[in-house]
């Protein structure tokens, strides 16, 4: 397909070669990719290493999943970084976890929506790397506009009309968005055309999946149901693999269907150091240390992630670093209490800004 991008946005973003933009909105090629898959209900179980080696290629549009520190497939993402994949385009609402991928050269381009530290403010590491040209913004979005692009893809539509983005500078910094008159209205009614968007690969972490890839999870879906349908390649990592009967007879059934899925990886603690609904609390002081060190310098950040990502082979080694079984039991208890599935007495949800001398072990 030949695409007609928003020219003002191309100019503002200084994009000359538009070919790197095409795959995200090429719905025909996404359909072709989905048609070429083996659609049989077959055993897709494999190791994380195998899944990432086979389904993530250099230059892919990689999609961050769920919500920053909650149910995001962080261990899958760390494996992509460990395997030295290069020049990925990052997308996702939010796309918070791209920041350390930028530091390692895993991500070179981004479809930006939100990269920050929520109540701890902005992500200074991302800001530094953007200024230094280590990452280039090739489209800028609001969460809602991007969510509509994913949802349009899931609904099988080439795009949709939105009332978001109007009057903002997002429109003239996103080659994919165009202000257009509502064709149903005789009166002036500007809308934003949002094309359906199709990442190359997404890793989604869930509570349970069967070996075919039927997946279910607790807590917010955010955009995961839509991105699973949209993406050309989908890896499921899960806290546990269950039987197909378990999926069928569990009250919740599956939220993501097997035919979206290429690989199923049993990966307990696959959302760590983030939060996993119904399972474990996030590693609070891991994040506090990152936010603090990210503010300090690139060297500090590198030291931090070299220890936790490059210095670990898998999530088990991460858990050892934050207290091992002691972390596991406290973290499970804390998550249950946070969600109202256990009493809150004796459980602390306090946060402390990182100070030198503190420990990433979850103390209290």
């Amino acid at each position: 397909m030949n695409f007609d991008y928003n020219q003002e946005a191309l100019k503002n973003l200084k994009i000359e070669d538009t070919s790197l933009l095409d795959r995200l909105v090429d719905y025909r090629s996404a359909r072709e990719a989905h048609l070429k898959k083996d659609h049989s209900q077959r055993d897709k179980r494999m190791s994380l290493h195998e899944a990432v080696a086979e389904y993530v290629q250099d230059g892919d549009i990689w999609c961050d999943s769920s919500f920053s520190y909650v149910r995001s497939a962080i261990q899958g993402w760390w494996e992509i970084i460990r395997q030295g994949k290069k020049n990925l385009q990052a997308i996702g609402s939010p796309n918070t976890n791209q920041t350390y991928g930028v530091m390692y050269g895993t991500v070179s381009h981004t479809h930006a929506s939100y990269t920050g530290a929520e109540m701890r403010g902005i992500d200074k590491m991302f800001s530094r790397n953007l200024k230094e040209g280590k990452v280039k913004i090739i489209s800028d979005w609001s969460h809602g506009l991007m969510a509509q692009g994913f949802k349009a893809a899931q609904l099988g539509m080439p795009g949709c009309f939105s009332k978001q983005g109007l009057g903002s500078d997002i429109i003239n910094h996103n080659p994919y968005l165009k202000v257009m008159q509502n064709p149903m209205s005789k009166d002036s009614d500007p809308c934003v055309f949002v094309p359906a968007i199709f990442p190359d690969v997404v890793i989604i972490h869930v509570n349970a999946a069967d070996m075919y890839g039927n997946a279910r999870f607790y807590g917010p879906a955010v955009n995961d149901i839509a991105t699973a349908a949209a993406s050309r390649k989908v890896i499921i990592t899960c806290e546990e693999i269950v039987s197909n009967y378990d999926i069928r007879y569990h009250a919740k059934g599956a939220q993501i269907p097997f035919n979206n899925i290429d690989a199923v990886v049993e990966l307990p603690f696959g959302a760590a150091p983030g939060y996993m609904p119904n399972e474990y609390y996030w590693m609070r002081y891991f994040w506090e240390k990152f936010f603090s060190w990210a503010n300090e310098s690139e060297e500090r950040c590198k030291e931090f992630f070299d220890e936790f990502i490059m210095g670990t082979k898998n999530v088990n080694e991460l858990i050892e670093k934050v207290g091992g079984l002691d972390w596991v039991t406290k973290s499970r208890r804390r998550a249950k209490a946070a969600e109202g599935n256990n009493e809150t007495d004796g459980v602390s949800f306090v946060y402390k800004i990182w100070e030198n001398g503190m420990d990433v072990k979850d103390i209290d």
Binding site: V70, Y114, I137, G144, K163, P220, A338, E339, V350
Partner: protein
């Protein structure tokens, strides 16, 4: 936290913001001061409000301050958890009354920036967070209220990037751009409460906090504030009882309402 301490500016902002909420409203909120204000409103004059979060949680059972908009405190025993596109969709469809947003910069028409500081997008002085849900909330909720600290840089003559459209260039410009909703109705800062003059849609002083003169408020602004005719009322301050609720029940660990030491 000692309860005898004098009120600090963040507590004042949280209180004033809470007064913007009316009972039975459905409100779109993010973390930080808007959440503190909403919980305070719920515990005082507006017990029947419903909270909506962009991650999908709504009407959670209150426990602690959420650390992330996706965190369990935003969907603890929620009767429903929505996908992100549906969550914003309800605001577009007219089922959300108010939204609250912070800002890094805001101009005289209530256009706000959380994208970047600098003149060159591809090489900013500082890249901020980006929109997140800010553009969506400002484009969709019926009434938008901004909240933040006020100084000459934050109240900017021109914002470096319009993340959240306010009244754009004033007059009819917001309507002409095709935006659905009302636009910003109020700005709550450390100095006072502002609304927007109905014709020009320029920011106007509504009330000023105790000890803040119009001259002082103007000094802390990069653009000219509209002054209403007559005397400017002093913003109502919280009673001792409400301050106690704020400190003991709403944010007992002082995550959002204590000033950095």
């Amino acid at each position: 936290m000692s309860n005898d301490k004098p009120m600090n500016p963040l507590e004042m902002i949280a209180y004033v913001l809470s007064r913007q909420i009316e009972d039975n409203e459905v409100i779109y909120i993010g973390t930080g001061l808007p959440m503190v204000a909403a919980i305070l409103a719920k515990k005082t004059h507006a017990p029947h409000i419903t909270f909506v979060y962009e991650s999908g949680g709504q009407d959670p059972e209150q426990l602690e301050m959420p650390w992330s908009v996706g965190g369990p405190m935003t969907w603890r025993k929620s009767p429903i958890i929505m996908e992100m596109s549906y969550s914003f969709g309800q605001a577009a469809a007219g089922m959300v009354d108010k939204g609250f947003l912070g800002f890094a910069q805001i101009d005289m028409y209530g256009n706000a920036n959380t994208h970047m500081i600098g003149s060159e997008f591809t090489n900013p002085k500082v890249r901020l967070t980006g929109s997140g849900g800010n553009n969506d909330v400002s484009s969709l909720v019926d009434k938008l209220i901004y909240v933040g600290l006020q100084d000459q840089n934050k109240f900017a003559k021109k914002v470096d990037f319009i993340t959240s459209p306010g009244w754009l260039e004033g007059g009819e410009s917001r309507k002409n751009a095709g935006l659905l909703n009302n636009g910003p109705v109020a700005v709550i800062t450390s100095a006072g409460v502002y609304d927007f003059e109905p014709e020009t849609h320029r920011m106007r002083i509504k009330t000023l906090h105790p000890g803040v003169s119009p001259e002082l408020a103007q000094l802390a602004s990069g653009f000219e504030l509209v002054r209403p005719a007559g005397a400017i009322p002093v913003t109502e301050t919280p009673s001792k009882e409400i301050l106690q609720i704020l400190r003991n029940e709403v944010d007992p660990s002082g995550l959002f309402i204590s000033l950095p030491s």
